[in-house]
């Protein structure tokens, strides 16, 4: 009898001492959830395959994309009732690097959302040299202090073919005033205390069209130091995430 009692006691102590804390506490009802935005890329109707000269841009040139690196910031998630939830972070994305292909937003309040808005680039309060941590990626996006400091908002590079041969192009965007506003009012999603993943697809072709075609031979293969070229990119960029 005593053995039974002690065995019981032994097992009781064993289980009691080893149980995990979470087993006993009732899971609280979460009032917020996590949202992952996965970024993908296409060129008009095709999905984007980098380093291949197989896409035709609006100006009529065959072209490739060898580099597409950019920042997104100032996210605002807009609820169906019109209220909004802003996030102040700046996020680096790289179309060729899976490590920089998504953003995880933690603690987004539960509710039905009708869309979101954000900037490509950094607003003037953030676009300052060394505002961002000194990572290799951020360092390579630096915009020299002698030209105003801060960061490149985007580097879109690759090759294109014209009547004289194959040439490279560098579409760089930066400097205060050249952020690109993205507004996606019809991108509904619901957060209910769990983890949700949504996808945003950039149509790279849109950087070079709508409202105005960017022609590498006329507008230049190089947007840097060229305000009108950068303005064209900025204005074309508003709808790159429209699907």
């Amino acid at each position: 009898m005593k053995s039974v009692f002690f065995s019981f006691l032994f097992l009781a102590i064993l289980f009691h001492s080893c149980k995990k804390d979470t087993a006993e506490t009732t899971k609280p009802i979460a009032t917020s959830g996590d949202l992952t935005i996965q970024f993908s890329y296409g060129f008009d109707t095709a999905s984007l395959q980098t380093d291949t000269l197989k896409y035709k841009n609006a100006a009529g040139y065959k072209m490739s994309v060898s580099r597409l690196q950019y920042y997104v910031s100032n996210f605002v998630f807009i609820k169906s009732d019109g209220s909004s939830f802003p996030i102040s972070g700046v996020y680096y994305l790289d179309a060729k690097d899976v490590n920089f292909s998504s953003i995880l937003f933690k603690g987004i309040p539960n509710g039905n959302y009708k869309g979101l808005s954000f900037l490509i680039g950094l607003d003037s309060t953030k676009n300052m040299t060394y505002y961002l941590p000194a990572t290799p990626e951020n360092n390579n996006m630096e915009w020299p202090t002698t030209m105003g400091g801060g960061y490149h908002f985007m580097k879109l590079e690759g090759d294109f073919i014209d009547s004289t041969g194959t040439w490279g192009y560098n579409m760089h965007l930066g400097s205060n005033g050249y952020t690109v506003g993205i507004s996606l009012n019809n991108k509904p999603f619901s957060i209910n205390g769990d983890v949700l993943s949504i996808q945003l697809k950039m149509n790279v072709s849109e950087w070079l069209k709508n409202p105005s075609n960017y022609d590498f031979d006329i507008d230049g293969v190089f947007s840097m130091g060229n305000a009108s070229a950068m303005l064209k990119l900025k204005n074309n960029g508003n709808d790159v995430f429209n699907e």
């Binding site: 005593k2 053995s3 002690f6 006691l9 032994f10 102590i13 064993l14 001492s17 080893c18 380093d51 060898s66 060394y130 000194a134 990572t135 290799p136 951020n138 360092n139 390579n140 630096e142 020299p144 202090t145 002698t146 030209m147 590079e157 090759d159 041969g165 194959t166 040439w167 490279g168 192009y169 560098n170 230049g220 293969v221 190089f222 840097m224 130091g225």
Partner: protein
């Protein structure tokens, strides 16, 4: 007797409970602590990251330790590894900024690439002018070959084993392994040397002091800085950030025909788009690390600047940076501007690494 039995039974159960608890509840941390205690933990080496440098690339499989760096430093300066009296320091000479003209040591500059200066290697993601080495930890494996150390590995092992301190140093850094085996020793030497090489940090140039507000640039240096960092000179796209390299690969128009080593990154990837591309070298200490370019074709900074000013060859893989509209004929810098640019490059000189005892022969 009964009482005794009862007492013993109780004692048995209590012991069993304690034992069961200790087994059931032990965590991995406790186990790890016991194991490492037996192995006597190595002392982590903290690599000081200079202001605005990014996080260094430090692999998990070869972490920096005080003991590993010390072993690597000793090996770096020791001709025990070679059959011809050479050590790593033979080509990477501290008083020459951890490099050497290959012509000065009998390497045919027409065949061997320019010896790179070993500074700030911890921030490099690729090694070799064409990026053929994906990490720093295996580069020294090449050095045992006939063109550098011409090592007889059996002899190297015999000499290392006979040394009064190497066996204990290797055992300490690479515990639980018999390192004195052909095929193993080479990797362990390379790992230790890589650890030492990663500790060589250059961040004490006039430009660094200027960035910290401790010193002013002269008007000429300042003009050069502006040329460097704007589209006029446009050096910064590749030689930007405090590392003065983007760690990328570019064709800067050195050649119009690509043969042999001059094919650059193409030799590694086999991709046509990589024809003639080479890794951007840091410009830190460039004033003291002539000759220049992957093949050491230029002997002075003036020649390098002149290349960008007027000597660029346009081919299919040339970097678009080199063909900026309006600069089809080169940068078109004036004599004064070229001198200003050079004056700025001279501010990147850090002579402290030449004499820093931490990097010297132990």
């Amino acid at each position: 007797m009964f009482l005794m039995n009862n007492y013993m039974r109780r004692y048995y159960f209590i012991t069993a409970i304690i034992l069961a608890l200790s087994i059931a509840c032990r965590n991995d941390k406790a186990t790890t602590a016991i194991v490492t205690q037996i192995d006597s933990p190595l002392t982590p080496y903290t690599l000081k990251t200079p202001p605005h440098f990014s996080k260094p690339y430090l692999p998990d499989y070869n972490p920096l330790t005080v003991e590993g760096v010390a072993l690597g430093r000793r090996l770096f300066y020791d001709s025990i590894l070679s059959s011809n009296g050479r050590s790593c320091s033979y080509c990477h000479h501290q008083s020459l900024g951890f490099m050497m003209k290959n012509s000065d040591i009998g390497l045919d500059p027409n065949y061997y690439p320019n010896i790179p200066a070993l500074i700030n290697e911890a921030w490099n993601p690729y090694f070799g002018w064409d990026g053929v080495f994906p990490d720093a930890d295996h580069i020294a494996l090449v050095d045992f070959g006939p063109m550098f150390f011409n090592s007889n590995i059996v002899n190297v092992i015999t000499k290392l084993k006979a040394d009064p301190t190497y066996p204990s140093m290797f055992k300490r850094v690479f515990p639980g392994q018999d390192v004195f085996v052909d095929g193993v020793i080479q990797e362990k030497v390379a790992f230790a040397v890589a650890q030492f090489a990663r500790t060589i940090v250059s961040s004490n140039s006039k430009f660094d002091r200027y960035m910290m507000g401790l010193e002013q640039l002269t008007p000429q240096e300042s003009n050069g800085y502006d040329l460097f960092m704007t589209e006029k000179g446009d050096c910064f796209h590749c030689h930007g950030s405090m590392l003065f390299t983007d760690n990328g690969f570019h064709n800067t128009g050195l050649d119009s025909i690509f043969e042999g080593y001059n094919r650059g990154r193409f030799n590694v990837t086999g991709l046509q788009k990589d024809m003639g591309l080479f890794r951007t070298p840091t410009l830190r200490n460039c004033a003291l690390t002539a000759p220049y370019m992957h093949d050491g074709r230029y002997q002075t900074l003036d020649e390098v600047i002149e290349h960008y000013n007027s000597g660029v060859h346009k081919t299919a893989t040339i970097d678009p940076i080199m063909t900026l509209p309006g600069k089809e004929m080169g940068l078109l810098l004036s004599t004064q501007q070229k001198a200003d640019l050079k004056a700025f490059l001279l501010t990147l000189t850090d002579t402290t690494i030449f004499t820093n005892p931490l990097y010297g022969r132990p």
